[in-house]
């Protein structure tokens, strides 16, 4: 018998934020919550002069990472392997973050900011959600590279061999999770913030299937009106732009150098939309996850993974070596929210040799497909074999007055 949390589940909502690592956002929680695989404070990286620089609880909401840290494939390779050239025998050591940031035109002092992390009180929303529901110690970006190809794993279970930001066209027989759902008679939507921010899924989905899209205000209305689809994917606002009247709309994606606090407010508003509808709250699981680490420090070595049958040649990777999609990118924050999740749930990652589980963005279409569509075959074996991110759901429904609401 599945647990009641799964039996009653009717909606899955995924909110994918931008470019922040696990340690940067949640690493500070380990002091009070030791099961969370965060920071002891002794983690370090050498700077360009070889001086050892420890992680510091001095992250700023804005203005600190104003040179966007490198998160393209060669840059992430430097971050993970510390500068050792591609080839057999090199070992991942997570020692190249400051060296990488120093190549961005930052001063020696400024490059150390890549080791900064937020104290829990600076991020009241993420902290509350991570400690009230389920946090994943072992959720990694799918590729050690940038946004577009990582987000592709969330939509298709693969990036079709791409490791960069160039546009690509999907290849038969792989369909997006939205198309799979709709063709099987289910409902699914991508909600982008507004037309001025738009979506990152352009040449494949927006061009060919605009009907699967909605705006964020539509998401809010759908939550209020009990018309939320079975699967929803939400994109934050990607740029600052004028709003209605003389208003101003702030980017809420938390991509450097957008203000992190505005992203907190966006996460809180999205959570509230579900939380304050009792019918929806008891039948929805919401995943807050980040697409990739944004070039920012994390201490956990990304593990190997099952290849998805594609390969990127050396001229695409920029490292002199082909990439066979057989190792993951850097760790990112991932939190699953539901009233069927006990307070303080931590899903162990690679730090737990016996019980640790490894998650990545292919788990998103993987889990949603398995939940709604049962035996669906037209996807990569990597996606088919990916972990189920709904595992934290239990039989026990927390009372309404035991679950937080945000006053935004």
């Amino acid at each position: 018998m599945p647990p009641a949390g799964l039996d009653n589940l009717k909606h899955i909502v995924v909110l994918m934020m931008e470019n922040r690592s696990f340690d940067h956002m949640l690493g500070g929680l380990m002091k009070k919550y030791p099961k969370i695989n965060g920071l002891t404070g002794n983690e370090s990286n050498p700077d360009a002069n070889g001086t050892v620089v420890k992680v510091q609880p001095n992250a700023k909401f804005q203005g600190q990472l104003d040179h966007d840290p490198d998160h393209h494939f060669p840059g992430v390779d430097l971050q993970i392997f510390g500068g050792a050239a591609a080839g057999l025998g090199r070992v991942a050591n997570m020692q190249g973050f400051i060296k990488s940031y120093a190549t961005q035109g930052t001063s020696a002092a400024a490059s150390r900011a890549i080791m900064s992390y937020f104290t829990p009180d600076q991020l009241p929303v993420l902290t509350r959600l991570a400690t009230e529901y389920a946090v994943f110690n072992g959720w990694f970006s799918s590729i050690p590279g940038p946004t577009i190809c990582n987000r592709a794993f969330a939509h298709y279970g693969t990036s079709f061999g791409n490791v960069d930001m160039n546009l690509f066209y999907i290849q038969d027989p792989i369909k997006s999770i939205y198309e799979r759902m709709i063709q099987a008679g289910h409902t699914a939507k991508i909600y982008y913030y507004d037309q001025q921010s738009s979506t990152m899924e352009i040449v494949n989905l927006l061009k060919n299937q605009p009907q699967i899209f909605g705006s964020y205000s539509q998401f809010i209305a759908d939550c209020k009106g009990n018309t939320l689809p079975e699967y929803s994917f939400i994109e934050p606002c990607y740029n600052d732009h004028p709003g209605p009247g003389a208003g101003q709309i702030l980017a809420s994606d938390q991509h450097p150098d957008h203000n992190v606090q505005e992203g907190e407010r966006f996460i809180a508003n999205t959570y509230n939309a579900i939380r304050t509808n009792p019918q929806l709250w008891e039948t929805t699981a919401m995943l807050v996850v980040y697409d990739e680490h944004g070039g920012i420090y994390d201490h956990v070595v990304p593990p190997a993974c099952e290849s998805d049958d594609y390969s990127a040649p050396p001229e695409k990777t920029g490292t002199g070596e082909a990439f066979n999609f057989n190792r993951l990118g850097v760790r990112v924050p991932a939190i699953l929210i539901s009233p069927y999740i006990p307070r303080g749930t931590v899903i162990p990652g690679p730090e737990d040799a016996n019980n640790g589980l490894v998650f990545e963005h292919a788990c998103i279409p993987g889990t949603v497909t398995n939940f709604f569509l049962n035996n669906y075959d037209q996807r990569t074996s990597r996606e088919k074999n990916s972990e189920n991110f709904l595992i934290p759901l239990t039989n026990a429904l927390r009372p309404d007055d035991d679950c937080w609401v945000f006053d935004v």
Binding site: G214, S215, N239, D402
Partner: protein, 108 residues
């Protein structure tokens, strides 16, 4: 919030100084624009000029181009969403409208 909740977490406001639509666009937005530009090539009519995306430097510039392109592909994104109750009322209103002669003939 109308209903009173027992556990409420206050969320600080973002300072107004955070807003800067003259901020130079990131590589992410640059690539988003490139992807839209590829689509624009297929949508532009004879005699129309393609957007010179090299002139898009700031988030403000980007937001204008993104709005123009998104509106072409997904015009519904600009509409104020209708609440479920409004849609129900609209359906009821349609149902109670007197049938036209044609509709009466069809249903008899």
């Amino acid at each position: 919030m109308g209903k009173k909740y027992k556990l409420v977490q206050k969320v600080p406001k973002t300072p107004k100084s955070a807003y800067n639509h003259d901020r130079f666009i990131s590589q992410l937005i640059e690539n988003q624009i490139k992807h839209f530009h590829e689509l624009e090539k297929g949508l532009v009519k004879a005699g129309e000029k393609l957007t010179d995306i090299s002139k898009i430097k700031t988030e403000l510039h980007a937001s204008k181009y993104l709005k123009k392109m998104t509106a072409l592909l997904h015009p519904q994104g600009a509409k104020k969403p209708r609440k479920a109750t409004q849609r129900k009322r609209a359906r009821r209103a349609m149902a109670s409208k007197p049938k036209s002669k044609q509709a009466r003939r069809r249903s008899s």
